[in-house]
Subunit: 341 residues, 2 copies
Amino acid sequence: MIKNSEPTIHDIARELNISASTVSRALNDNPRISLKTKEKIKAVADAMGYRPNTLASNLRNKKSNTIGIVVPLINRHFFSSVISGAEDVAFKAGYNVVISQSNDLADKEINIVQSMFSNRVDGLIISIAMQTKTFDHLKIFRKKNIPLVFFDRAVPEIETDKIVVDDFAGGFRVTQHLIDQGYKRIAHLAGTQNLMTYFDRKKGYLEALRKNNIQFDESLVIINTLTSDEGVSAVQQLMELKSPPDAIFCGNDTTALSAMIFLRDKGIRIPQDIGIVGFSNEPFSKVVSPSISTIAQPGFQMGQKAAELIIRQIETKERTFQTIVLPTELIVRESSSRRSF
Amino acid sequence: MIKNSEPTIHDIARELNISASTVSRALNDNPRISLKTKEKIKAVADAMGYRPNTLASNLRNKKSNTIGIVVPLINRHFFSSVISGAEDVAFKAGYNVVISQSNDLADKEINIVQSMFSNRVDGLIISIAMQTKTFDHLKIFRKKNIPLVFFDRAVPEIETDKIVVDDFAGGFRVTQHLIDQGYKRIAHLAGTQNLMTYFDRKKGYLEALRKNNIQFDESLVIINTLTSDEGVSAVQQLMELKSPPDAIFCGNDTTALSAMIFLRDKGIRIPQDIGIVGFSNEPFSKVVSPSISTIAQPGFQMGQKAAELIIRQIETKERTFQTIVLPTELIVRESSSRRSF
DNA sequence: AATAAAAATGCAATCGATTGCGCATTTTGC
DNA sequence: GCAAAATGCGCAATCGATTGCATTTTTATT
């Protein structure tokens, strides 16, 4: 008679006329089982094509061996790099990784996070959506003491491990660099200010202006969600000013690129007439022409570190949280190198 | 007294002095429970912050509500697009998605697939690793009748749903296009031939040559794994031929780019001296200079379709498999547009 | 050989949700 | 007014693996 369902430890036990407990212990290399019995059991398990049912095991152990990762959009180089790094570390440590994308929508994020909770993930790694403004769905994790790690876009009011880049220093360096290149009126295309990342980049920008005794001009800062289209309209708006900028620090590479293309089509030369700097070091920034100066964010590393942090939280009871600030690196390329042209 | 663990249906039942069965049925909107009782139960469940334990439910139902996705590398635009599309559809249909990357290694792929099996995924969507040459780990899925869908890199000998692009037509069109542009000696940088995708691209290349009565020259075809570095060394090798090519059909955009940069550094003009075409329409191909002609592969769509197929397999018993061939689109850009320069 | 000590294995409950079957109560029909 | 049908709910088993405690078997000691 053929059993059409998967063999279980009970099937193995029946086969050998022993108890399921023994089989379980043998397969888990419990020292209480003799070597001889273990070998016999493993042989039969192999022969029957036995594969443990992780669901059952997880239920019993109250542990899913799974780490949840939530990103705004999988299909973005920075985020997929983070995922890639996290997956790498997690897998090696014996964890599975479930991934969802919020599409930068608060509702979907809440939905996802609750679903992951129901699935009893052992920990959650998340970079919050642009749109998210309340954080009850995440505070629950802290309240229930379920490991939680923020990366890149963290929530200040929730105390837990965080891994971010030094956005302030990044913003500062970009601006200082533009000043050093002789640009005088430096505009900033900023992202939504409820996200610390964009907030800090702007703060860095402001600080650099202040340090160099440059009067801050409010009309030179535009805040939006940094899509390609919005990059264009923002630049359009900037160029219509009585006194347009001669450099633009764009909040990301996407807008830097769209801005650049827009300006080029208008016959404006980059970097001679206008200098451009982006943020994130997307792969294309290096290969476009002119290549785009930008700030490198080590996504893969960040993912690795995030996974390490969450695993530490999962596997140790201690809860002393750290905020790791990865250094930013300014990559100077053609789009802002006026001096050398 | 504070319970530090999660509330269960038993806790709710105790609270209301009813049975757990009733609670379970009420929460699942079973018609056998009266409306009044249902409401009472739902109110208490809410008040206690009850969240169903998916693990327990899944164990009982022998269903994980999870779809596994295995890709060579998450951190690659085409694959992350596929994931993004699949995640989108799956999530809307109430499925979770677990993702792993094989890093194009056979061993890791086998490991991952077995782990997913142990986790009892309801179905598996996979694009096999370059290195993978045996397929027992996947045949098991078919044997046990667990839904399986291949995308992009499919295994011919396993009968199941597949969704691929028309690589043959793609290879053909690229080659024909180069011929139409007046290129005479067209080289091909091909990927490992055990993958149908690369095999078919080459077949398309050969067929185009044949149709145009161009003698096939073996020295013009180089097979490797299409990394950036290998692109360089392949081109180097080609340029050292007594009679070097005047056009190169690269198996992917990565090698197209690295080849282009190498040639440019040598003072060779593109597309005037040598025409270049890539494959996959990576984001950078559009924005580099010169922009790279390539073949568009609709990754996001492919992911959506793959998810639809797997869900169909999961939710219906029928097993009539289809192979969906998505059309390829040739995108002509600067790197191969000799006529218009 | 008898007994203590150590080693190997089994019993049965548990994790939390689901469900077939059955019992009790209420409603319906004539 | 009473049998029949319908309604509402509970009991207990189940999914497969794990584990504290109990029991059996083996080994060591005198």
